[in-house]
Symmetry: C2
Subunit: 215 residues, 2 copies
DNA sequence: ACCTGAACACCGTTCAAGT
DNA sequence: ACCTGAACACCGTTCAAGT
């Protein structure tokens, strides 16, 4: 069981979801296709378990985080750790927190964010909304990151910056009157840092939360 | 071409992504499998085009929105319209804004959000981050919504509330010491309204943005 | 209790051939 | 310019049979 998940994650790390097939996994494990079904009922479950397997390490990292005096600072640290995990493994973006029923570690991470929210002076409903918003934001940015990178990047025939530059050029080629915003931020977009962009948005969300909690 | 997209969207509306196969689509159109490849190079492109086809209507709705005096109010209205579109068509959550290169209408929506951001007194970088954060948040919640609903809900053998109730019960069965947050919000979660939850998080984000822009 | 692998149903995609 | 549909390679999943 343990080795099934280890190999599944290895395949996902190497080439994303398309690389994880029952046949490829079986051959890695040196067994038959059918034997995987002894441990897992379907491919969906396989993906959920693989995602949760990775989340176990994230959970350990999160629990090791020094308890900040300020709950919102703690939430930021947890969210940043989550983001780092998805940046490491883009495929995770599409699967983590997909079904917390089969992802107990993901559920625990949600709980930990919630425990920080509980330290704020909010109504029960506001707490529910706050924790969900933070998770939702992380998932959204993560899913964006998780889009299969263009083939040329996987090949190594083009760098990430090359691709961003080309995007920016396409934006600059658009009509100036109709797309003033895309023109303004084209330079900003080229060569931007995903982690910084993530943190900037997170800080907006947390600033709103701080305001609501009167801190 | 037009009819290809119309039928593709119809299949997606009826039973989600698994229902959209080239064979099913061809039989709907009364043609052969191969002929679809005349219009579309791959299934990925088919999904992107179908998503963008739907986004055309969303774009019309967004452009019809009365221009609010306050740019942040305008952004909220756009985000709420986006959310409504995904609530209508859960499959959209997984595909919209996936590749704005093949989704021109999605790109235009991003531009419109950006134009509102441009009305705020922010640096260029802050504007880039603000627009991206709002889109990222919408995508995140949308993707959550887009998870294939459990089979029993599709069948009609269980309501959405039944499923939420069962989740809440599972949370209540967890250890009280280890999961204080899940215990606290179990009642809140059961019977919660997705749209309200979305708006609550959005308001936190926008409140943070308002603070940053000094309005 | 766990594994095997042929077989099945079903995909996306290609392509020589047609109009 | 557009369509046809058999064929190909490759999936997830099942299951009778083995140890």
């Amino acid at each position: 069981m343990q080795s099934v998940m280890t190999e599944a994650v290895a395949l996902l790390d190497e080439a994303g979801e398309p690389a994880l097939t029952f046949r490829a996994l079986a051959s890695r494990l040196g067994t038959g296709v059918g034997s995987i079904y002894w441990y897992v009922a379907s491919k969906d479950e396989l993906l959920d378990r693989a995602a949760d397997h990775v989340m176990a390490d994230v959970l350990v990292a999160v629990e090791k985080l020094p308890a900040a005096a300020d709950p919102i600072d703690s939430m930021r640290a947890i969210a940043v750790a989550l983001f780092a995990a998805v940046a490491d493994r883009p495929w995770l973006g599409a699967y983590f927190m997909r079904d917390t029923g089969t992802q107990p570690n993901a559920l625990k991470v949600y709980e930990l964010i919630g425990q920080q929210v509980q330290r704020l002076d909010l109504t029960r409903r506001e707490r529910f909304h706050a924790a969900s918003a933070v998770i939702g934001y992380v998932i959204g940015i993560a899913a964006d990151l998780g889009q299969q990178p263009p083939q040329e990047v996987v090949d190594g025939t083009a760098s990430r910056d090359d691709v961003l530059d080309r995007w920016a050029d396409q934006w600059r080629a658009l009509d100036r009157e109709e797309f003033p915003f895309l023109h303004e931020i084209a330079d900003e977009f080229a060569g931007h840092d995903d982690a910084e962009q993530f943190r900037a948005g997170l800080d907006l969300l947390l600033a709103g939360l701080r305001l609501q909690s009167g801190r």
